[in-house]
């Protein structure tokens, strides 16, 4: 238990929780905005227009090929300075994660939409449903069931990838951990493991419920 006392230092836990809040905030906003972006991108990907398709393809491939870290640097040091855009580090993170989440979710949405049998569209048409009613009442509810497990998985990936924000100087949970470790290096030389252990546990607490929800939904909807 050597070094565990570091956790009992006043201020350690509240500061870690503050850091965690930054992590959750970045991930939450990114995932929240990615959902509508992904729905629109996924819908655009199913269109037959060759220009729209090519643009979406380029967008998706660019985001997939670039490492997230390179995207973050590009957004923070390149993009924002270039356009003289007053974007802080947190803003740059959120922007990149939205672009990334939107592209990945868009591809999931595309796959889900394309997997809906043609007869669902045809039955709806014959019953007199308008294209919008068909999409919102028949196609989308089925597509959501199909893409939910994979998108929860994507959400956990986004939560974990927020740790890269450290490298832009965002003070999220990992950065707070490093600061605590540095400040106590002489007093608790072996506190490192404990701090990172707590951080591990915090990520776990955030991501685990998501996995459980995904698994439950998968089980409940497995039949269709």
């Amino acid at each position: 238990m050597q070094g565990a006392e570091i956790l009992l230092q006043p201020g350690v836990f509240p500061r870690l929780l503050q850091g965690l809040w930054v992590t959750v905030w970045i991930a939450g906003v990114s995932v929240g905005v990615s959902i509508p972006v992904g729905l629109v991108v996924g819908w655009l990907m199913t269109l037959k227009n060759p220009v729209v398709r090519a643009l979406m393809r380029i967008y998706l491939d660019f985001i997939r090929i670039m490492p997230q870290l390179a995207l973050l640097f590009l957004a923070y040091y390149g993009f924002a300075r270039w356009f003289d855009w007053n974007l802080d580090a947190t803003g740059a993170c959120v922007l990149v994660f939205i672009l990334w989440g939107g592209a990945e979710l868009g591809d999931l949405v595309r796959g889900a939409l394309q997997s809906i049998p043609k007869v669902q569209y045809e039955s709806s048409y014959v019953l007199g449903l308008s294209p919008w009613q068909t999409f919102s009442r028949v196609i989308l509810p089925q597509a959501v069931r199909r893409l939910l497990p994979a998108s929860v998985n994507l959400a956990t990936r986004i939560v974990k990838t927020t740790s890269l924000a450290v490298l832009l100087g965002v003070v999220e949970v990992i950065k707070v951990g490093q600061q605590i470790i540095d400040a106590n290096r002489f007093q608790y030389p072996s506190g490192t493991l404990w701090i990172y252990g707590v951080i591990f546990f915090m990520y776990f607490i955030v991501c685990w419920p998501l996995s459980i929800v995904a698994r439950q939904l998968e089980k409940r909807w497995s039949h269709d």
Partner: protein, 287 residues
């Protein structure tokens, strides 16, 4: 052909069921004109000849037309054009002398006819694949279109849906999900889903072809009851005994043309007039 013992419309149906279906069958219009297709042409963009070429026939109100033909003859395409799922390039489709779809050249690539949703509800269709909407219960499947499209009263629609379900023997499954039903049950729900809109014409596109053999009968019995109740229907089927029992009028399609047409189903099956029809019917015999 062997004697048609299995599907006899006179004794296979119980009369009580027939009267109940009459509430959902269309009320006969004053002139009782029925449904008509004239010089219909269906041409796809990349095909050298039309899939359907100059098809004309008339189905009197309250009668059943059975469309027969080898695969690739255009039977399903015919039903799909009538339902508006495919635009037509020539001819007209009309109900009671009102033209609901007109052939337009240049629409070979278009996905659907541009028919209004009100017109679409006048023609019902049940497909071969027995998919319901998996995100809705049985009742939800049936009541969706009347509530959303026709904006009818919810209580009245649900009451009618229950009556229809009762008629097809599925009243106790109203809250079931589609995945909990067998193929035959789903197909019976699909029939209710079409009937609740009171379509003037009901199209059945090989509705038993994808079912397990023991489920075919339960679906066909429902269709026989509908015929007795006076529902105008166009049926594509490979069940020859059923076709003979239910048809008032038969057409045989081959290569996009009507090869033989008969208003006497028994005569058609017993003594086809053309060599092509003899050949076609012969493929269903196993003596």
């Amino acid at each position: 052909m062997t004697e048609p013992a299995q599907f006899n419309t006179d004794n296979a149906v119980n009369d009580e069921a027939v009267t109940a279906f009459e509430t959902s069958a269309p009320s006969p219009s004053s002139d009782c004109k029925g449904f008509e297709v004239r010089h219909l042409v269906k041409q796809y963009a990349n095909a050298d000849k039309p899939v359907l070429n100059d098809i004309s026939f008339k189905v009197e109100h309250g009668t059943v037309l059975v469309v027969l033909g080898p695969s690739g003859s255009g039977k399903s395409t015919l039903l799909r054009t009538i339902a508006g799922l495919e635009p037509i390039q020539g001819g007209t489709i009309s109900i009671n002398d009102q033209v609901i779809d007109e052939g337009r050249p240049g629409t070979e690539k278009a996905g659907r006819s541009n028919r209004s949703s009100a017109l679409r509800t006048r023609i019902g269709m049940v497909f071969q694949s027995y998919d319901l909407f998996p995100n809705k219960t049985v009742l939800g499947n049936i009541t969706m279109a009347p509530l959303l499209v026709q904006k009818r009263d919810k209580a009245q629609v649900e009451a009618e849906a229950l009556k229809l379900l009762d008629r097809v023997g599925l009243a106790d499954r109203k809250d079931a999900w589609p995945h909990e039903l067998s193929g035959g049950q789903r197909q019976r729900v699909a029939i209710c889903r079409a009937l609740i809109l009171h379509p003037e014409v009901l199209l059945l596109d090989e509705i038993t072809a994808a079912l397990d053999p023991e489920m075919v009968r339960e679906v066909l019995d429902v269709v026989l009851e509908l015929a007795k109740a006076g529902q105008t229907m166009l049926i594509v089927t490979h069940e020859m005994q059923f076709a003979r029992a239910i048809a008032d009028h038969v057409i045989l399609l081959d290569g996009g043309h009507i090869v033989e047409e008969s208003h006497d189903a028994y005569a058609f099956f017993a003594h086809p007039q053309t060599e092509r029809a003899r050949q076609f019917l012969h493929t269903f015999e196993f003596e």
